[in-house]
Amino acid sequence: MQRLTSTLEFHAQALTLRAERQRLIASNIANADTPGYVARDMDFARALREASGTSAVAGAMATTHASHLADPAGARSAAELTYAHNPQDSLDQNTVDLDRERASFAENAVKYEATLRFINGHMRTLQDAMRSPNQG
Protein backbone atom coordinates (compact mmCIF):
# COMPACT_ATOMS: atom_id res chain seq x y z
CA MET A 1 0.00 0.00 0.00
CA GLN A 2 2.84 2.32 0.89
CA ARG A 3 4.56 1.65 -2.42
CA LEU A 4 1.36 2.36 -4.29
CA THR A 5 0.95 5.89 -3.01
CA SER A 6 4.45 6.99 -2.02
CA THR A 7 5.12 8.63 -5.41
CA LEU A 8 1.79 10.41 -5.16
CA GLU A 9 2.60 11.63 -1.67
CA PHE A 10 5.95 12.97 -2.78
CA HIS A 11 4.36 14.92 -5.61
CA ALA A 12 1.61 16.18 -3.30
CA GLN A 13 4.28 17.58 -0.99
CA ALA A 14 6.09 19.16 -3.92
CA LEU A 15 2.79 20.72 -5.02
CA THR A 16 2.17 22.19 -1.57
CA LEU A 17 5.66 23.66 -1.50
CA ARG A 18 5.26 25.08 -5.00
CA ALA A 19 2.01 26.76 -3.92
CA GLU A 20 3.79 28.16 -0.88
CA ARG A 21 6.65 29.51 -2.97
CA GLN A 22 4.14 31.00 -5.41
CA ARG A 23 2.59 32.87 -2.50
CA LEU A 24 5.96 34.11 -1.31
CA ILE A 25 6.84 35.47 -4.73
CA ALA A 26 3.39 37.03 -5.05
CA SER A 27 4.04 38.82 -1.74
CA ASN A 28 7.36 40.08 -3.06
CA ILE A 29 5.75 41.41 -6.24
CA ALA A 30 2.94 43.00 -4.24
CA ASN A 31 5.50 44.80 -2.05
CA ALA A 32 7.71 45.98 -4.89
CA ASP A 33 6.99 49.61 -3.95
CA THR A 34 6.84 49.30 -0.15
CA PRO A 35 9.70 51.10 1.60
CA GLY A 36 11.79 48.85 3.82
CA TYR A 37 10.28 45.58 2.59
CA VAL A 38 12.73 42.67 2.55
CA ALA A 39 12.17 40.10 -0.19
CA ARG A 40 11.89 36.47 0.93
CA ASP A 41 12.36 33.27 -0.98
CA MET A 42 12.65 29.58 -0.18
CA ASP A 43 15.34 27.03 -0.86
CA PHE A 44 12.99 24.66 -2.65
CA ALA A 45 15.27 21.62 -2.80
CA ARG A 46 16.01 21.83 0.91
CA ALA A 47 12.37 22.38 1.84
CA LEU A 48 11.29 19.39 -0.24
CA ARG A 49 13.96 17.19 1.31
CA GLU A 50 12.78 18.26 4.75
CA ALA A 51 9.10 17.77 3.92
CA SER A 52 9.50 14.35 2.36
CA GLY A 53 11.87 13.21 5.09
CA THR A 54 14.16 11.51 2.60
CA SER A 55 17.29 12.75 4.31
CA ALA A 56 18.13 14.48 7.55
CA VAL A 57 18.35 18.24 7.11
CA ALA A 58 20.23 20.42 9.56
CA GLY A 59 17.78 22.50 11.57
CA ALA A 60 14.79 20.34 10.69
CA MET A 61 12.24 19.39 13.34
CA ALA A 62 13.01 16.04 14.89
CA THR A 63 11.52 13.90 17.63
CA THR A 64 14.53 13.03 19.81
CA HIS A 65 12.63 12.34 23.00
CA ALA A 66 9.77 9.97 23.77
CA SER A 67 7.54 12.80 25.00
CA HIS A 68 8.11 14.97 21.91
CA LEU A 69 5.07 15.43 19.78
CA ALA A 70 5.46 13.78 16.40
CA ASP A 71 5.34 16.34 13.63
CA PRO A 72 2.33 15.96 11.35
CA ALA A 73 2.99 14.92 7.79
CA GLY A 74 4.55 17.68 5.79
CA ALA A 75 5.22 19.92 8.79
CA ARG A 76 8.37 21.98 8.61
CA SER A 77 10.10 24.63 10.58
CA ALA A 78 9.75 28.14 9.20
CA ALA A 79 13.54 28.36 9.03
CA GLU A 80 13.72 27.41 5.38
CA LEU A 81 12.63 30.92 4.37
CA THR A 82 15.68 32.81 3.17
CA TYR A 83 16.26 36.36 2.13
CA ALA A 84 16.52 37.06 -1.56
CA HIS A 85 19.74 38.79 -2.47
CA ASN A 86 19.31 42.02 -4.38
CA PRO A 87 22.25 43.02 -6.57
CA GLN A 88 21.21 46.67 -6.53
CA ASP A 89 20.45 48.55 -3.34
CA SER A 90 17.60 51.00 -3.43
CA LEU A 91 17.34 54.18 -1.42
CA ASP A 92 14.18 53.11 0.44
CA GLN A 93 15.73 49.82 1.71
CA ASN A 94 13.40 47.75 -0.44
CA THR A 95 15.18 44.62 -1.67
CA VAL A 96 12.68 43.40 -4.28
CA ASP A 97 14.24 42.84 -7.70
CA LEU A 98 11.09 42.92 -9.81
CA ASP A 99 12.64 41.35 -12.93
CA ARG A 100 13.95 38.40 -11.00
CA GLU A 101 10.70 38.00 -9.09
CA ARG A 102 8.73 37.93 -12.33
CA ALA A 103 11.08 35.28 -13.71
CA SER A 104 10.83 33.20 -10.53
CA PHE A 105 7.05 33.53 -10.58
CA ALA A 106 6.82 32.24 -14.16
CA GLU A 107 9.29 29.46 -13.44
CA ASN A 108 7.42 28.40 -10.34
CA ALA A 109 4.08 28.44 -12.19
CA VAL A 110 5.46 26.15 -14.90
CA LYS A 111 6.92 23.77 -12.33
CA TYR A 112 3.63 23.75 -10.42
CA GLU A 113 1.90 22.71 -13.64
CA ALA A 114 4.56 20.07 -14.25
CA THR A 115 3.89 18.60 -10.81
CA LEU A 116 0.16 18.60 -11.58
CA ARG A 117 0.88 16.64 -14.75
CA PHE A 118 3.05 14.17 -12.86
CA ILE A 119 0.18 13.54 -10.47
CA ASN A 120 -2.35 13.21 -13.28
CA GLY A 121 -0.08 10.82 -15.16
CA HIS A 122 0.58 8.75 -12.09
CA MET A 123 -3.13 8.48 -11.33
CA ARG A 124 -3.84 7.42 -14.90
CA THR A 125 -1.16 4.77 -14.66
CA LEU A 126 -2.66 3.44 -11.43
CA GLN A 127 -6.17 3.42 -12.90
CA ASP A 128 -4.97 1.61 -16.02
CA ALA A 129 -3.26 -0.98 -13.89
CA MET A 130 -6.41 -1.52 -11.84
CA ARG A 131 -8.75 -1.84 -14.81
CA SER A 132 -9.61 -5.40 -15.70
CA PRO A 133 -8.51 -6.55 -19.18
CA ASN A 134 -12.02 -7.15 -20.52
CA GLN A 135 -13.13 -3.61 -19.69
CA GLY A 136 -11.31 -2.31 -22.76
Binding site: A19, R23, A26, I29, A30, D33, T34, R40, E113
Partner: protein, 135 residues
Protein backbone atom coordinates in the same frame (compact mmCIF):
# COMPACT_ATOMS: atom_id res chain seq x y z
CA UNK B 1 -5.18 25.72 -0.03
CA UNK B 2 -2.47 28.22 0.60
CA UNK B 3 -2.59 29.63 -2.92
CA UNK B 4 -5.92 31.33 -2.28
CA UNK B 5 -3.95 33.83 -0.21
CA UNK B 6 -2.37 35.13 -3.40
CA UNK B 7 -5.67 36.83 -4.21
CA UNK B 8 -5.63 38.60 -0.85
CA UNK B 9 -2.00 39.63 -1.26
CA UNK B 10 -2.25 40.81 -4.86
CA UNK B 11 -5.67 42.30 -4.24
CA UNK B 12 -4.31 44.47 -1.45
CA UNK B 13 -1.46 45.56 -3.71
CA UNK B 14 -3.84 46.42 -6.55
CA UNK B 15 -6.02 48.45 -4.21
CA UNK B 16 -2.97 50.27 -2.79
CA UNK B 17 -1.67 51.03 -6.28
CA UNK B 18 -5.03 52.33 -7.41
CA UNK B 19 -5.10 54.63 -4.41
CA UNK B 20 -1.65 55.85 -5.45
CA UNK B 21 -2.98 56.41 -8.96
CA UNK B 22 -5.87 58.38 -7.46
CA UNK B 23 -3.53 60.75 -5.66
CA UNK B 24 -1.48 61.17 -8.84
CA UNK B 25 -4.69 62.03 -10.69
CA UNK B 26 -5.69 64.67 -8.16
CA UNK B 27 -2.16 66.08 -8.10
CA UNK B 28 -2.04 66.37 -11.88
CA UNK B 29 -5.55 67.85 -11.99
CA UNK B 30 -4.43 70.52 -9.52
CA UNK B 31 -1.06 71.19 -11.13
CA UNK B 32 -2.11 74.71 -12.14
CA UNK B 33 -4.39 75.56 -9.22
CA UNK B 34 -3.68 79.00 -7.79
CA UNK B 35 -3.90 79.98 -4.14
CA UNK B 36 -7.28 81.07 -2.84
CA UNK B 37 -7.93 84.16 -0.72
CA UNK B 38 -6.26 82.44 2.28
CA UNK B 39 -2.97 82.26 0.37
CA UNK B 40 -2.92 78.45 0.54
CA UNK B 41 -2.51 76.65 -2.77
CA UNK B 42 -3.12 72.94 -3.32
CA UNK B 43 -0.39 70.76 -1.82
CA UNK B 44 0.82 67.66 -3.62
CA UNK B 45 -0.21 64.45 -1.87
CA UNK B 46 1.67 61.16 -1.65
CA UNK B 47 0.53 57.80 -0.31
CA UNK B 48 2.67 55.85 2.17
CA UNK B 49 2.80 52.08 1.67
CA UNK B 50 3.30 49.58 4.44
CA UNK B 51 3.58 45.80 4.48
CA UNK B 52 0.70 44.06 6.20
CA UNK B 53 0.60 40.39 7.13
CA UNK B 54 -2.15 38.24 5.64
CA UNK B 55 -2.53 35.50 8.22
CA UNK B 56 -0.10 32.90 6.99
CA UNK B 57 3.70 33.03 7.12
CA UNK B 58 5.14 34.50 3.96
CA UNK B 59 1.92 36.14 2.80
CA UNK B 60 2.59 39.87 2.94
CA UNK B 61 0.16 42.34 1.46
CA UNK B 62 0.31 46.11 1.14
CA UNK B 63 -1.79 48.82 2.67
CA UNK B 64 -1.79 52.58 2.55
CA UNK B 65 -1.05 53.85 6.06
CA UNK B 66 -1.56 57.52 5.39
CA UNK B 67 -1.52 60.22 2.77
CA UNK B 68 1.11 62.88 3.38
CA UNK B 69 1.10 66.40 2.00
CA UNK B 70 4.16 67.94 0.42
CA UNK B 71 4.93 71.10 2.41
CA UNK B 72 7.42 72.74 0.08
CA UNK B 73 6.30 76.28 -0.84
CA UNK B 74 4.25 76.62 -4.00
CA UNK B 75 5.54 77.95 -7.27
CA UNK B 76 5.37 81.79 -7.32
CA UNK B 77 4.97 83.61 -10.60
CA UNK B 78 5.13 87.37 -11.09
CA UNK B 79 1.88 88.27 -12.87
CA UNK B 80 0.33 91.52 -11.51
CA UNK B 81 -2.60 91.35 -13.92
CA UNK B 82 -3.75 87.98 -12.57
CA UNK B 83 -6.91 88.29 -10.41
CA UNK B 84 -5.33 86.12 -7.70
CA UNK B 85 -2.11 88.14 -7.50
CA UNK B 86 -1.05 89.29 -4.03
CA UNK B 87 0.14 92.79 -2.99
CA UNK B 88 3.55 92.35 -4.63
CA UNK B 89 2.05 91.04 -7.86
CA UNK B 90 2.91 87.38 -7.29
CA UNK B 91 0.56 84.47 -7.94
CA UNK B 92 1.12 81.32 -5.87
CA UNK B 93 0.49 78.08 -7.71
CA UNK B 94 0.36 74.58 -6.24
CA UNK B 95 3.65 72.79 -5.53
CA UNK B 96 2.85 69.85 -7.84
CA UNK B 97 5.76 68.73 -10.01
CA UNK B 98 4.12 67.29 -13.15
CA UNK B 99 7.22 65.35 -14.24
CA UNK B 100 7.43 63.63 -10.87
CA UNK B 101 3.73 62.81 -11.03
CA UNK B 102 4.02 61.30 -14.50
CA UNK B 103 6.86 59.04 -13.35
CA UNK B 104 4.79 58.09 -10.31
CA UNK B 105 1.84 57.31 -12.56
CA UNK B 106 3.87 55.01 -14.84
CA UNK B 107 5.33 53.20 -11.85
CA UNK B 108 1.91 52.72 -10.29
CA UNK B 109 0.38 51.43 -13.50
CA UNK B 110 3.23 48.95 -14.07
CA UNK B 111 2.91 47.62 -10.52
CA UNK B 112 -0.86 47.35 -11.00
CA UNK B 113 -0.36 45.30 -14.17
CA UNK B 114 2.20 43.07 -12.48
CA UNK B 115 -0.20 42.22 -9.68
CA UNK B 116 -3.08 41.56 -12.06
CA UNK B 117 -0.85 39.14 -13.94
CA UNK B 118 0.06 37.41 -10.70
CA UNK B 119 -3.63 36.95 -9.96
CA UNK B 120 -4.33 35.61 -13.46
CA UNK B 121 -1.53 33.06 -13.15
CA UNK B 122 -2.70 31.99 -9.70
CA UNK B 123 -6.25 31.63 -11.02
CA UNK B 124 -5.24 29.42 -13.93
CA UNK B 125 -3.09 27.28 -11.66
CA UNK B 126 -5.96 26.85 -9.20
CA UNK B 127 -8.37 25.93 -12.00
CA UNK B 128 -5.92 23.30 -13.21
CA UNK B 129 -5.61 22.02 -9.65
CA UNK B 130 -9.39 21.64 -9.54
CA UNK B 131 -9.22 19.37 -12.57
CA UNK B 132 -6.68 17.13 -10.88
CA UNK B 133 -7.39 13.47 -11.58
CA UNK B 134 -9.94 14.14 -14.33
CA UNK B 135 -7.54 14.41 -17.24
Amino acid sequence: MSMFNIFDVSGSAVSAQSQRLNTVASNLANADTVAGPDGQAYKARQVVFQTTLMGEVGAAGVRVTNVVEDNTPGRRVHDPKHPAADGQGYVTYSNVNPVEEMVNMISASRSYQNNIEVMNTAKSLLLKTLQLGQG
